[in-house]
């Protein structure tokens, strides 16, 4: 037991340094032995329900969106992720500077600047659409982050490690879609109905839609998708040619936001 403990401390110490220095192979071995001691011989593993080798994407069928359905989806997300509704900083402010948004409504011309033309069908241009983080295949936010607090998972999800974010907001400047929000103040305000399953954030970190990674890892669908009643959102695995999303993409013409910037968004729109 005693040697076990010493071995652990040594391993844990080296592991910390190893992570700090960018672990080399020898260090990685020690890292593994520390992990083994901490996590058991089999080590940590995903939930058994998690889908393997997936590549997640979403289709938004704007034809089906209604004010009520969008409201429902947005609320489901806000509630699940403890997103606070901050009041205006000053009475009479034209917009909310502290606002946190993961998924929200935009006019067509704002969501798709450059794809707007005067004579589009009114049903396209007059209805609002849902926008969220595009979970880009080639994400600019990941490229600019100086601490790897924003990173891309193997399943393509661009996600944030809130423990590591230093709040430099480089990612907010880099995102071509305005999908990122910053906690200008403590998000735990009185009006926040806390969902105990999910953490809040602390002030001074950036946040954004995470495609509900916490749900996907358990084999569930994202909260906004679960809140749909008429198939407004289709979510699925792009690596599976038989998945519903691949079928929808085969059978419909879809567009993406700002394709010209080369980020390869994984949120597709049927208009």
């Amino acid at each position: 037991m005693k040697s076990d403990r010493r071995h652990f401390l040594k391993a844990a110490g080296v592991a910390t340094i190893g992570v700090a220095a960018g672990a080399t192979a020898a260090e990685a071995n020690l890292l593994d032995s520390a992990k083994e001691l901490l996590l058991g011989p089999k080590g940590a593993a995903p939930y058994p329900e998690a889908k393997k080798n997936a590549r997640w994407a979403m289709v938004v069928d704007t034809r089906k969106l209604t004010a009520e359905s969008m409201e429902k989806m947005i609320h489901a997300c806000n509630h699940a992720h403890n997103i606070p509704l901050h009041p205006l900083r000053k009475k009479g402010d034209k917009y909310n500077k502290d606002e946190i948004k993961w998924i929200w409504e935009e006019e067509f011309e704002n969501a798709f600047p450059g794809q707007m033309n005067e004579h589009l069908p009114p049903k396209v241009t007059q209805n609002e659409v849902l926008v969220l983080c595009n979970q880009c295949e080639n994400p600019a936010c990941v490229r600019v982050c100086p601490t790897k607090a924003t990173f891309q998972r193997d399943d393509g999800i661009v996600i944030m490690d809130f423990h590591r974010c230093i709040g430099c907001r480089f990612c907010m400047a880099a995102c071509p879609y305005g999908s990122r929000s910053f906690n200008f103040k403590d998000p735990r305000i009185a009006s926040l109905e806390i969902n105990p399953e999910f953490p809040t954030r602390m002030k001074g970190v950036v946040e954004k839609c995470n495609f509900c990674a916490e749900q996907l890892d358990k084999g569930l669908q994202p909260h906004c998708v679960e809140a749909c009643e008429n198939g407004e959102l289709v979510f699925g695995d792009m690596n599976d040619p038989e998945s519903e999303i691949r079928k929808v993409l085969r059978n419909n013409y879809t567009i993406r936001r700002k394709p010209e910037v080369g980020t390869q968004p994984q949120v597709y729109y049927i208009v």
């Binding site: 001691l37 058994p48 193997d154 809040t200 954030r201």
Partner: protein, 130 residues
């Protein structure tokens, strides 16, 4: 010696400042090392420890750190406990489920050791109970 008055005054002030924590605490005695009872009803009903093999009192910082990276960065959410079962590595949703007495379980030692981890700035505390 030049300016001996100034130098000696300076030295006295420096020594007084430097020693002030010790002087102020003379006779107060060191606060007792907290020995809180960590048993909650949930833990009592289990008998033997089931979840973690390590000595958590001394190593929980490293353990939590590894778990955190494992969950957030590698999407590995579960680890086997001593009993061989898979446990979800989650501070709010697993640890605090049984160790629901945060005031005893976390705060007493942290206050004693004067450390202020920022876990609870984000993670939700278990509801207060008796």
């Amino acid at each position: 010696m030049y300016d001996s008055g100034k130098i000696i005054t300076g030295l006295v002030i420096f020594v007084a400042l430097f020693a002030s924590p010790f002087i102020l605490n003379v006779g107060g005695g060191a606060p007792a090392v907290p020995q809180p009872s960590l048993d909650t009803p949930a833990i009592k009903s289990m008998g033997n420890p089931v979840c973690v093999r390590e000595n958590m009192q001394s190593n929980h910082m490293q353990v939590l750190d590894l778990w955190r990276d494992s969950v957030v960065r590698d999407s590995n959410h579960t680890a086997p406990g001593i009993d061989g079962q898979l446990y979800e590595m989650s501070l709010s949703n697993t640890c605090m489920e049984c160790h629901s007495n945060k005031a005893e379980f976390c705060d007493r030692c942290h206050t004693y050791a004067a450390v202020d981890p920022f876990c609870w700035d984000c993670h939700i505390e278990p509801p207060k109970e008796g």
